[in-house]
Symmetry: C2
Subunit: 354 residues, 2 copies
Amino acid sequence: MKKNILVIPGDGIGPEVTTWGKAALEKIAEIFGHEFVFDEALMGHAAIEVTGNPLPDETLEKARKSDAILFGAIGHAKYDNDPSLKVRPEQGLLKIRKELGLFANLRPILLFDELLQASSIKPEILRGTDILFFRELTGDVYFGEKIRSDDRNTASDLMIYHRYEVERIAHKAFQAAQQRSKRLCSVDKANVLESSRLWRETVQEIAKQYPDVETEHMFIDNAAMQLIKNPKKFDVVLTANLFGDILTDEASQIAGSMGMLASASVGESTGFFEPIHGSAHDITGKDLANPLASILSAALMLEIGFGLKDEAKLLVDTIDDVLKEGFRTNDIADQTTNRFKVLGTAEMGKLVLK
Amino acid sequence: MKKNILVIPGDGIGPEVTTWGKAALEKIAEIFGHEFVFDEALMGHAAIEVTGNPLPDETLEKARKSDAILFGAIGHAKYDNDPSLKVRPEQGLLKIRKELGLFANLRPILLFDELLQASSIKPEILRGTDILFFRELTGDVYFGEKIRSDDRNTASDLMIYHRYEVERIAHKAFQAAQQRSKRLCSVDKANVLESSRLWRETVQEIAKQYPDVETEHMFIDNAAMQLIKNPKKFDVVLTANLFGDILTDEASQIAGSMGMLASASVGESTGFFEPIHGSAHDITGKDLANPLASILSAALMLEIGFGLKDEAKLLVDTIDDVLKEGFRTNDIADQTTNRFKVLGTAEMGKLVLK
Ligand SMILES: CC(C)[C@H](C(=O)O)[C@@H](O)C(=O)O
Ligand SMILES: CC(C)[C@H](C(=O)O)[C@@H](O)C(=O)O
């Protein structure tokens, strides 16, 4: 199989971890005899520094031409500390999601048995958890009109959904539920928000086309609580852009660490694969970042993007083995015992490749 | 001290639990020689059934005349299942918050040592946690304009903040931080939302007036994760209406159960005190609800509403004793051991009063 893959390392720990996601893809190509052709492009703060634009035209062009994109992370402390800056790294990520029509963000909460102890949640609560989030990614308050009054004293963002936007992601989620345990939980705030009432209505309608799937509706506040109280009760979770952002980060504690979770954004064409962690300025360049989420992003690219299940499985199994042998990066090591061999980003990356 | 207290039992388990919050206030009046004069009023589904209005004028009038309000819960499955209904219970709660100017919702995460085991989070992660949330309560996407297009295919809610709204709650939160450990974390989504950028800017400005308080800004997705990963790192948390709704429900797992948390809404005049749990249709009328959150709401009324610290402390200490003696309601009992004496709502209420 021949594929063109665009690598966008982005900001912060992005470049450090993406190196290993890319290397994993190269290794897989070698083992299975595929031809993966790589190109690279700028986005976020890295792109602003060079071009003044968080998503340069060149990057977008390359993205459109590629079969899949491996992305690192975005964001920089400078902008976080100064909310008045007009050009911001995150605009690049939001724009590429919109331009490529990446309306469905899949976030599997993959639980490695070996990491049950790394979570702040009790292992007996976690064991057996297997959740697949479908986060809507090109609508909601992320993309609605943003207004700042002339006197700068009033600011607003429009939280808005169109029925077709809810329908298309709902179909994807229900179809996935049919392949899994046939349970779907849709999360909204329909007791307060009109956009959530449209969301709930639409999901109720679509649900009728999937009578074999058991559908539940839950308010976001309750879901944020239930997710920790009893994660096993969830299977496919369908939710809007903002609520999905919050819930999936929260759910990273189920997997032991944000450093272990990858996501796939799909939609109209090219798929986009990235760790769910952020740019983590505080540990950038210190060889402390966990490269496993980027390698798992590569695995998602192989499986969801290219339909290469065996190749994806090899990566996941290898990570499992490395964890079984007691190797950890800092974020997933239990600091209170000496049972683990704690590795830096590069050592961990190399080990998985071996 | 003489005080007029309005009791609004509301919907679902509201009436069952509020009975005990009220009884606790009566007992305190008796012991300390205060005169608490009670009145009662309708709100939510209960009010719709009788008057067609989730917040009847009579309730609002009584509320304005009272010194404090003890509220139960709101909501009903009928409306949750039919998002197209125009008149909804929650409108009553939102309107009374707005009408009474209750812009600051204080949610202390009170940890009873005895309940460390009741949480899904590891006790060693929880021990020592003490968080006070300041949730903004009369702005945000809750109150911004709601629009449904004529063809019903598009729906929106305006997420909007004015600078003065952020300022007034920020002052309250910083003042509280000064009385506590002098740490404040403000939560927003300033990397995406304009309203959050106004929020962050404003909090940065106000922070300069409280140089003794260490201020941190965190994105909501990260906060939802950190809250479970390491709850001890938080002290005062300041956040907007929607983010506060989500974070505080999530934080209820820190306290072992939603059934243990109370909140105080304050602002321009009369204070409003309520459990953070919802109407819980599934257990309504089954004598399964935990009355402790309502009794703790009464304690907040005594402390924050009336400045009666000793009286409030007596209630909290009594609950602590009851828990120490091994008594539990269903939600906080560890089902895997027989160590606890599990009580119904009424038995638990009576026991605390004794
Ligand atoms: C960086 C930010 C814009 C982004 C989001 O909020 O979508 C990130 O948190 C994510 O979840 O991918
Ligand atoms: C019932 C609902 C409108 C309410 C809210 O979202 O504010 C509740 O969840 C709360 O937290 O008090």
